[in-house]
Symmetry: C2
DNA sequence: CAGTATCCTAATGGATACTG
DNA sequence: CAGTATCCATTAGGATACTG
């Protein structure tokens, strides 16, 4: 019998410490990857390597400057990407995944895998209905 | 040169179809797992097996009835969990991961793994500063 | 017990204009 | 080019009361 604190509140739960730590870890990862664009930014940088601000904005069709800046800053704070101001005129800025950022690859890969098969499943189901 | 439609807008992007489909798949998965509690619900059902509504609410410290119902419904719609009304008085309801729900295990596992090591890294960094 | 319904707040995120 | 600042709309989500 242990106390389970998932975020803010305390709850008396009869789950093991191991299990609770696992759930907390999952939650931590979720928080790091929160926001509408973060996963996609990481995936883009993983696929395409170094990218400038503008290039990212073009890849992430629909993202505005505010969100792009915000999400990039949060990723940088968490050590997942680097921001390099280039010595050009006017200045350009390059964003790149850090090694630590690359450590998210297994998660992204699994998400890509599942998402692909999921879409296949949906399409199959639609086909059967017709 | 292909057109990249990530959600609603069209963008002229010079990325390959494969790459674009991969990004779309990642996005799809992200959508399915959206919301504050969905990942945690899945992880709980994966760890503990069948759970009743009340039990889930206790495990997910802090969740309210509205959110729990909503997230469970969305998971059910997507075929990730089953909802079984038991023949008791008063009625009880059991939620359980489907086989399809279990197919998310690799993602959850990778998230647990990364989150655990991430917390370790943060703790190390704090320790070094002191 | 397992929810719905309602109300309300906080947070998210988009559009636009502007700046070094 | 790479952002900030501002305003605004939408949504997510929490608290509470209520129902079969």
């Amino acid at each position: 019998m242990y106390f389970c604190n998932m975020g803010t509140k305390l709850v008396d739960g009869s789950i093991s410490v191991d299990c609770w730590e696992r759930l907390r870890a999952i939650n931590d990862t979720k928080d790091i990857l929160s926001g509408k664009w973060k996963v996609m930014i990481i995936a883009c940088l993983a696929s395409f390597g170094k990218k400038r601000y503008m290039e990212l904005q073009r890849l992430l069709a629909g993202i505005g400057t505010k969100m792009l800046s915000k999400e990039l800053q949060e990723l940088e704070i968490n050590g997942l990407i680097t921001r390099t101001v280039m010595n050009t005129k006017p200045i350009t800025v390059e964003y790149e995944l850090t090694n630590y950022g690359h450590s998210l690859k297994p998660i992204i890969d699994e998400m890509a895998l599942w998402g692909k098969s999921h879409r296949g499943k949906i399409i199959d189901e639609i086909a059967k209905k017709e």
